[in-house]
């Protein structure tokens, strides 16, 4: 279980790194707004929130 958690964390780290770097980042960098909010900052914050949720899920479940 401990092994499995470590490898999942490393995988999540790689995913996070990918999401916050070129070229994935450039996907959001356009002159569009969503619900009146500019897309680029909105996307960054949403990705960030998703990473926090994924991390919390990985850390909190399983052996207490």
């Amino acid at each position: 279980m401990k092994r499995a958690r470590s490898s999942r964390l490393v995988a999540l780290f790689c995913l996070g790194w990918l999401l916050f770097s070129f070229p994935v980042l450039s996907l959001w960098d356009r002159d569009v707004s969503l619900f009146g909010l500019p897309l680029f900052p909105l996307a960054l914050f949403l990705l960030w929130a998703a990473l926090i949720i994924a991390l919390a899920w990985l850390m909190e479940r399983g052996e207490s």
């Binding site: 958690r5 470590s6 964390l9 490393v10 999540l12 780290f13 996070g16 790194w17 916050f20 770097s21 070129f22 980042l25 450039s26 959001w28 960098d29 002159d31 707004s33 619900f35 009146g36 909010l37 500019p38 680029f40 900052p41 960054l44 914050f45 960030w48 929130a49 990473l51 926090i52 991390l55 919390a56 850390m59 909190e60």
Partner: protein
């Protein structure tokens, strides 16, 4: 005047006093053993000391100039915390096991407790961190100036000038406060529970204050986020801040990458982060929650950065007010003075939190890794035995704190105005990032050597000074800027900001690239070409394999002779008499020794003393002191290998011992179970014996009584004599039948019965059985009906035994059916796998409870009258026979509606099922 100076000063001091109260309470609870910081939430909040005045004021400043580019500083920690459970947990385990108290100690300890490395790391830290402290002073002073200055924010910059002198007093006041805070303990402990509690409290204040001003600006001054961003997007100058690429600068992605990497390394190796995350950690399991709560904190505190920056730009117009202070000037402009005061207190929280932890951490490093080694070099100090040095240690730390803050003030005074807050902070980050190769590789790569670390650190630090630090000083106007434009001595290739002709990167990315690349390459290459010494090799093993060595089997890399007396004296000098006594008492208790005097000064005790000393004066100094107090034999690389082998052998032995004891336990358990089984079998046998004897006695008693009567009465009439003899013959037959059945059952159960297996035609078996008993049915006036098809496939079994079973069932049925209207039906049904035979009667039936025991030995159900004929062994024997052939036997009945006994015989007997029945038979 916005707010009276006296009021702001008074509230600020009241706030500091509150902090002190919290710290005092935290320390008191810690001494009572009821820690208030032992919670993952408090731990996560204390890690949020990452958010300094730099975040609080500077993020908005950066966002108003560079838009979303304030974010990488917080995305880096987010990514780093994903790996916290892997990396930080290892750092915590190492630091706790070897009592490591600072990042300098961590690196030095890994590379053979090398004092030169410790000194170099400390030096880099001091040089790198001073601008960061200056930044906090600048933030507080600027905020204070704005809050108490003229209400027109455009005049802020000018109004700071007159306040500047007071910043010195503020720095000194903070120094005094920190001294009270962090170094007031008489016993030297490396952990500061009260401080952590206060820092966690500060983290709450700064978050609440920042969210408050964010909500006020967004919903009080504007109509929510939609309104704010709508107006921003209409203004092209502001709208471009929402985009990644807002200027025409090349290599933007590498800058973004560099910032994330920088922040990632900083959150691990900044002295204050190492202090709260590793040294002050109470329980490494807290990391599990803190790993996501801390990024969540960063997320929340950054939510309103862009809205506030945009609001400031819209409200004041671009370039009209200092964007670093928007959080204060916006509420002030709306007349919300109390909110502004609260926001200022939030900023004060952010700044003081950083300064407190940073200066405590760095002062420990200065004391342990710069001053102590220098003192230990002096002969007089080393050879002076005895005398309590804890006071000296504390004084050194206090002086270091004052010195740090004064240096910070100096930097602020010299260079403070030249840079925005964020740029100053990044200079510090880049210095601290130099520790990453040595520290990270040290935890995972045993081949890293101290020579590699020294070379890497020196080159990295040198490049940092040349490409980032010196230019920043030059740009402040304190040294000539000629070398920036033309290179030193006209060597254009060495220009600090276009080193080796590399151009196009911003100064930070440029410097980070050169310093980290130089550092890493030198570190790896030199490590490849140098051999670690014995002490280094042993420390490498202890660090890299720290998770394998929990428990009592870790190797002790020390050899020589020592005297307990010397060790006690040494400990008293640096730990104080009380702590020293506790240390030896603990060791005595662990070994089960009666007193300290009974202790033997073996390697384990020496190591324990050294580890404890390392907590007080750093591992490098502790090494020197222990070496001077005992008679050491030099450690060779062969010794390290030998000790390691002994330890692993010891571990293997203890592992084997554990395995053996576990298997013994299992064997004991098995034996116990077997014993239980034997006992119950024994009981069953006794029951069986008593049942058998009881059953034998009944006919015997009646035979004896009748014979006695015939003996005593010679004149008995012949008819009566005949009648008695008839009874005696019947009883004898019953006896011999009983004995025969007992023998039969015993043989089957023991597996000694003879089986004459052949291919049996079930129809023939039924016909034969029915034929031999049908006359008795006729005598009783009952009907016996057989419903069977023809042409059954043969079954491999013993025909005589099957007939025996059928006869048993039929005669049982015969006993229970009523006279003259009895009816018994034999059903034979064949399917693909086997044959089912059922014998149904119309007797009184059997109740559910009785059904359960009808197959037990000597258990006869129904009327007592019918018992005379039976032995109570017929059904058990029948079931044994059926089970021998791999089948099963059952009874179905409803009281009042007759009973049906049936059995099923499979055509193919599985070998294992047969063996199973065999074994079952033996057991019963």
């Amino acid at each position: 005047m916005n707010l009276p100076i006296g009021l702001v000063v008074a509230i600020s001091f009241a706030y500091l006093a509150l902090l002190f109260g919290i710290a005092w309470y935290g320390d008191r609870r810690a001494r009572q053993g009821r820690s208030i910081i032992s919670s993952p939430w408090v731990y996560a909040l204390s890690i949020a000391v990452y958010c300094t005045a730099w975040t609080y004021f500077g993020s908005v400043g950066r966002a108003s100039v560079e838009g979303v580019w304030f974010l990488p500083i917080y995305l880096g920690p987010m990514l780093a915390m994903i790996l916290a459970w892997v990396v930080v947990r290892k750092m915590i385990r190492i630091a706790k096991t070897y009592r490591i108290t600072s990042v300098a100690d961590f690196i030095a300890s890994r590379y053979g407790k090398n004092p030169v490395i410790a000194g170099l790391v400390t030096l880099i830290t001091v040089v790198g961190i001073v601008p960061y402290i200056a930044l906090q002073l600048k933030a507080i002073s600027a905020g204070f100036g704005l809050l108490t200055g003229p209400s027109d924010p455009t005049l802020t910059e000018a109004s700071v000038t007159w306040w500047q002198d007071s910043t010195l007093y503020m720095a000194l006041a903070l120094a005094g406060f920190i001294i009270l805070f962090g170094t007031r303990h008489l016993d030297m402990t490396e952990r500061h529970e009260g401080m952590v509690a206060a820092i966690a409290f500060e983290s709450i204040i700064k978050l609440v204050a920042f969210l408050a001003v964010g909500l006020f600006v967004t919903y009080g001054m504007f109509n929510g986020l939609g309104d704010l961003f709508g107006r921003a997007l209409n203004d092209p100058a502001i709208a471009q801040l929402m985009r990644f690429d807002h200027g025409a600068t090349p290599h933007l992605y590498s800058q973004w990458f560099a910032l994330i990497l920088l922040a990632m390394l900083s959150v691990l190796f900044l002295p204050r982060q190492f202090q709260v995350m590793v040294v002050e950690n109470v329980d490494e399991r807290h990391l599990k929650r803190a790993a996501w709560v801390f990024p969540l904190y960063l997320f929340l505190i950054n939510l309103f950065v862009l809205p506030i920056a945009i609001a400031g730009l819209i409200h004041f117009g671009p370039g009209q007010a200092n964007p670093d202070l928007f959080v204060l000037s916006l509420p002030l402009a709306e007349g919300a003075r109390w909110l502004a005061l609260f926001v200022f207190i939030g900023g004060l929280s952010a700044a003081t939190g950083m300064v407190i932890v940073e200066s405590i951490a760095v002062s420990t490093m200065i004391c342990n890794d710069l001053v102590m080694p220098a003192l230990l070099k002096t002969r007089r100090f080393r050879h002076r035995r005895g005398g309590d040095l804890t006071r000296l240690l504390k004084s050194i730390r206090r002086l270091a704190i004052v010195g740090l803050l004064l240096l910070g003030y100096l930097y602020f005074f010299l260079a403070g105005d030249a840079y925005a807050l964020v740029s100053i902070g990044l200079i510090s980050f880049a210095a601290v990032a130099q520790f990453a190769p040595a520290a990270l590789a040290g935890m995972y790569w045993k081949g890293a050597t101290s020579a590699g670390v020294l070379t890497g650190l020196a080159i990295g630090f040198g490049l940092w000074v040349w490409t980032l630090m010196l230019p920043s000083i030059a740009k402040s106007g304190w040294i000539a800027t000629g070398f920036l434009d033309h290179g030193p001595f006209g060597l254009a290739l060495l220009k600090p900001e276009q080193f080796l002709g590399l151009s196009g990167l911003d100064p930070l990315t440029h410097s980070l690239f050169w310093s980290l690349a130089g550092n890493l390459i030198a570190f790896v290459v030199v490590s490849f070409y140098t051999r670690p010494g014995a002490r280094e090799a042993s420390q490498a093993l202890l660090f890299v394999d720290v998770f394998d060595r929990s428990g009592g089997s870790e190797p002790v890399f020390w050899q020589g002779q020592a005297r307990v007396d010397d060790l006690v004296k040494l400990s008293e000098r640096f730990l104080g008499p009380d702590a020293a006594r506790r240390l030896f008492a603990e060791h005595a208790a662990d070994l089960g020794a009666s007193s300290i005097a009974a202790l033997e000064a073996d390697a384990r005790l020496v190591q324990r003393v050294e580890t404890r000393l390392a907590g007080a004066i750093g591992s490098a100094s502790a090494r020197v002191m222990v070496a001077s107090a005992v008679d050491e034999e030099p450690l060779e690389i062969d010794d390290v290998m030998r000790i390691l082998e002994e330890a692993s052998q010891l571990r293997a032995y203890s592992q084997a011992l554990e395995d053996k004891s576990r298997s013994l336990e299992q064997a004991t358990e098995k034996l116990k179970r077997a014993n239980e089984q034997l006992k119950s079998l024994d009981r069953l046998k006794d029951d069986f014996m008593s049942s058998v004897t009881h059953e034998l006695r009944t006919p015997l008693t009646s035979i004896r009584a009748l014979t006695e009567m015939m003996r005593d009465d010679p004149d008995m009439p012949t008819e009566q004599r005949q009648e008695f003899l008839g009874i005696m013959v019947a009883e004898s037959e019953r006896l011999s039948r009983l004995v025969g059945q007992v023998l039969d059952l015993a043989r089957i159960e023991a597996g000694h019965a003879e089986w004459h297996n052949s291919d049996v035609d079930m129809q023939a078996v039924v016909t034969q059985a029915v034929g031999s008993i049908s006359s008795r049915f006729e005598d009783k006036g009952a009907v016996l009906e057989v419903r069977a098809g023809s042409h059954f496939k043969p079954i491999r079994a013993d025909a005589d035994r099957l007939i025996q079973v059928l006869l048993n069932l039929l005669s049982n049925a015969l006993k229970v059916i009523p006279a003259n209207c009895g009816r018994v039906v034999v059903d034979v049904v064949e399917d693909d796998d086997g044959v089912t035979v059922e014998v149904a009667d119309n007797g009184p039936g059997i109740s559910l409870e009785e059904q359960a025991e009808v197959f037990d030995k000597f258990r006869q159900v129904g009327d007592r009258d019918q018992h005379r004929e039976g032995t109570g062994l017929g059904l058990p024997i029948s079931r044994q026979i059926i089970e021998h052939f791999g089948g099963r036997m059952w009874v179905e009945s409803e009281p009042g509606h007759g009973a049906t006994f049936g059995f099923y015989l499979p055509r193919k007997q599985k070998d294992d099922s047969r063996a199973e029945t065999q074994r079952l038979g033996e057991r019963q």
